[in-house]
Symmetry: C2
């Protein structure tokens, strides 16, 4: 399908951002002027509270404008990538971003240098919107070095990215998989499809063809994986953090016990629930020996129900009923105001996202094909967009932007509400089983597998921090050992399981994976409470959505009634998982 063949009402309306090129170009010029005005404060921004305020106001205006320009250009480019005018705009916006980032490095340094005056200034009520963001800068003082040390450290950026770059550049080619006598193409994209095949020999072959290539290059991967761990340790030590974990947590203003609590609950206390699920799989699949590459074989037939967009919308509206009319009104608005670009077409970017700026609608790119997955993706992205809408309408620009840390809560709670609604309205046991199975699989990935990953990367980080050598043998043996405990007694590990650690890009992101677990646990707990009719939870959750980025993620979650450093959240989350598993087991053993 071509874009021009799609009904206008199913495309997004970017004219609400810029009506024409003239207006876009005017804003580009305005942004350049604002940047120069910002630069003119160099050396004087801390000389009085009025100067500081004036500078910050200029910077906010600039930043709002830039985000608006970028939003327009990237949305337009994503649906019409061949349009040179869009590409030109995108490139202009990115260049401006780069210039701003290069030219305004002096700001944080000046704030830190004149911290005493600055701390006084932010007591001034005129500066109240800037208190949180200023404190965010001041928080880094203990980890800021002398000027010449900072310069040297900044030079190291040029040499510290080799591990990640090589990891991305190393593209393996795999031998094809024979299915019914025909060669089929194997790569990172198709592996998961082969692993769902009902024929065990196809799964085994795909697994072996895939990971034997990782085995062949294990010494390269051992170098890049230990290389990135050493990089994290280097920067942590240079900036006087206790270790890489503390450095990572510091950026999110999160306490160490958050990480520890997640490992304690998800990785240790509740892991038996995962083992119970594996035992059930083995029984349902009737396997004498169940290997780790057998776990993706579907336990139920796929949900084949199809949805038109109008139907999808009314389901979504019904599903979010517990969140109240204000929330439903935003969903309605998303359709009326054409925030969403629904259908896939030639050249359009794949996948789905929610994206916008403080001065635009929170747009959504979809590739809606009408299956349950499309429906679920749509309510997921609407979760992000509603979050942005509520934040932008309740926060000043300075504190509207929320972090990835909390973003996934808003989207996954919606997925849960959809699932609850669909369960209540399911037309058959099959449909119910399929809904429950999808949720169970999603949960396994996020609340069991990611904590094991987190534990593993923590152990790798600790090894390099203690100057222990990391050979491919150490790296893969450790992974093997953790996997053995993770999968439990009903799963036999293939001998290549050890090298499968080399396949995971997330280990290159310095303690990222545990955030997935946090997001999902939080959503499960909230959805569980909402389902039980807990109105206080609904109110807290809406308040949380309206808080945007006005506080640290942990404080925001506490306000939402889900303190991730306490047991309660995890108890509710895993109890909900257990109830899903119970329901699933009952249905699957009776259909």
């Amino acid at each position: 399908m071509e874009r021009k063949d799609i009904e206008l009402q199913y495309t997004w309306d970017l004219s609400s951002i810029y009506q024409n090129d003239q207006v876009f170009n005017n804003d580009v010029n305005k942004a350049k002027d604002l940047l120069n005005k910002c630069i003119s404060y160099k050396g004087i921004l801390s000389s009085s509270s009025s100067n500081y305020l004036a500078y910050l106001e200029t910077q906010t205006t600039l930043s709002r404008l830039l985000n608006k320009l970028y939003c327009y250009a990237h949305l337009a480019s994503d649906v019409e990538p061949d349009n040179q005018a869009h590409q030109q705009k995108l490139s202009e916006a990115l260049t401006l971003f780069q210039q701003v980032s290069n030219e305004l490095t002096f700001v944080d340094l000046e704030i830190i240098e004149h911290q005493e005056q600055i701390r006084e200034y932010i007591k001034d009520p005129r500066l109240k919107n800037y208190v949180y963001t200023t404190n965010e800068v001041l928080r880094y003082i203990p980890h800021t070095l002398t000027k010449e040390m900072e310069e040297l450290l900044s030079e190291t950026n040029k040499i510290s990215d080799v591990s990640s770059n090589v990891f991305s550049a190393l593209r393996l080619e795999f031998d094809p998989v024979m299915v019914d006598g025909k060669e089929e193409f194997l790569n990172q994209g198709t592996l998961s499809i082969f692993l769902k095949n009902k024929d065990a020999s196809v799964r085994k072959q795909a697994y072996e063809n895939f990971f034997s290539k990782y085995k062949a290059f294990e010494n390269v991967y051992a170098n890049t994986l230990s290389g990135v761990m050493k990089k994290d340790a280097f920067y942590a030590k240079a900036r006087k953090y206790q270790d890489s974990l503390e450095a990572s947590l510091f950026h999110d203003d999160a306490p160490r016990k958050l990480f520890e609590k997640i490992l304690e609950m998800a990785n240790l206390k509740y892991r038996p629930l995962f083992h119970r699920y594996n035992a059930l799989k083995k029984k349902v699949l009737k396997l004498d020996t169940m290997y780790n590459y057998d776990l993706s074989v579907p336990l139920v037939e796929e949900n084949e129900r199809k949805f038109e967009i109008e139907e999808a919308f009314s389901i979504i509206l019904e599903a979010v009923t517990p969140l109240g009319q204000e929330y439903q009104a935003i969903i309605k608005k998303s359709k009326e105001e054409r925030w969403i670009d629904f259908y896939p077409h030639v050249k359009k970017r794949s996948g789905a996202y929610s994206s916008g700026a403080y001065d635009t609608k929170p747009f959504i790119l979809m590739n809606f094909v009408g299956d349950y997955s499309s429906l679920s993706t749509m309510i997921h992205e609407l979760g992000h967009s509603c979050h942005s809408y509520l934040s932008n309408h309740n926060q000043p620009a300075e504190t509207a932007d929320y972090r990835i840390f909390v973003a996934e809560v808003a989207s996954t709670v919606n997925e849960m509400l959809l699932m609850q609604y669909m369960m209540k309205n399911a037309k058959s046991k099959q449909e119910k089983a399929s809904l429950l199975y999808e949720l169970l699989e999603e949960c396994v990935g996020l609340i069991f597998r990611q904590p094991m990953f987190a534990d593993y990367e923590h152990k790798l980080h600790q090894a390099v921090e203690n100057d222990q050598p990391l050979s491919s043998q150490n790296i893969t043996e450790l992974y093997n050992q953790l996997n053995q405990a993770y999968f439990g007694d009903d799963v036999v590990l293939h001998e290549l399981a050890g090298v499968s650690c080399y396949y995971i890009p997330h280990f290159y992101y310095n303690y990222y994976v545990y955030k997935y677990t946090l997001g999902m646990c939080t959503s499960l707990a909230i959805a569980n409470r909402i389902e039980k009719g807990d109105q206080e939870q609904v109110d807290n959750y809406l308040a949380f959505l309206k808080s945007g980025g006005s506080d640290s993620p942990i404080e925001l979650l506490k306000k939402a009634g889900v303190d991730p450093t306490k047991d309660e959240l995890y108890i509710d989350a895993f109890n909900y998982f257990e109830s899903i598993l119970n329901q699933f087991e009952e249905i699957i053993t009776t259909i």
Copy 2:
């Protein structure tokens, strides 16, 4: 053959180092005591000239002992790698080296901190042996940073070696080459054999099977090659060198104009001689189109003459006649005192080397198989050993050790003398042609190809120093362009020639390759003058061999009558090459 089946006289006599384990172990304990004594000078080594002297004497004794221990252990292990007692000794010696290196880092720092006193102390005649080595430390003052900057810089060592590590770890596998209907194994070792094949299609196939794999991984290699260039630039900038070139030259105490002179003469002025040789190749090989992968096809039949060890020795003794009786006497001694381990046998390390310590003989490991190459290798290694012998007998321990920079002169001059002798005594035109051809090919590699490599790595270094992005496209286009000019009009470049830069490990050594050119040009010039009966050159050369490491390499070469920053050296060297080429052309066109 097993080691036990070899006549004792053809094995080296390591009992001249240590008669038994007891003596070795006593020295290990002595070394540990000496290390503790060295450490006890921490904080006081610069407090008086007597202290400084006492410290240096202790350190020299320690260092002599360590080198002796290591020498014994590594020689013994190289011929009997399965002997656990040898391995144990080797591991002890290496551990001691590591401890010394870790424990004595304070020494240079204290010398630099108390530079004024130290400069006074070395005026004391008792310290005369330590003047050069002390000045070598003081020379680094402008490039030494504050304590905390040095600590940070030292931490970067943990993250700066990823490029080199990945380069070493990335082992490619190649499709086999079909020769006469049979699959033959292709790898880094066999490529050069296929490229000598008379069948053009075999050469093409080997070249394509080989470099297409480099092409497949070009993005990885682009990252590691640009990564190592960035690493060099980082350390050069951090240590206040003008650029990576200056940093590299500084370590060898060599001036920038040395590098520039080599490029000017070898890479520009005399390159037409290489083009003349290529034109001759095209004519002799009767190729309509000559590709770069055709250049290794031999122009003459291989020299099949065989040599027994006794005969080889008498040829070598005759060949070095121009160097006089003192030099010949050392050669004789090498045999009488059993410095050399001649024959290959099961498990023995491959290749050849000269290796010894101040308090041992300069031993030689050979894998002598009786062909001309074995003979040439033997005189080459004897060149190193005679150099060591003369240096050790004429220099105090502190300045006996010479650098790689000058080491190759001593070995290649010997190769030239052998070639001259063999030419005079050749029994046929064929034999002469073969001797000349081997020399021409060696020269091409060292005096034409390496300067092109040097020019290329210099351009890569400059690119990263100017923050220009290095994609695989930039990197290979530049290489292609330089190769086109290098090979000249008679050679057509294969489209994969651009990626062949990724095959060269030397680009990971920060300006190393130009040293090969320097060594070979120096040897050619010296051999040329010696052949012409220049007795002053002989005397200067012997004086140079006796100077060991008592001055900067450039000063040592000047003393040898070959100033590598002046034109004369190169004029003599390339004239010699031209005369070899003239002789070869005359013979090859008349046999």
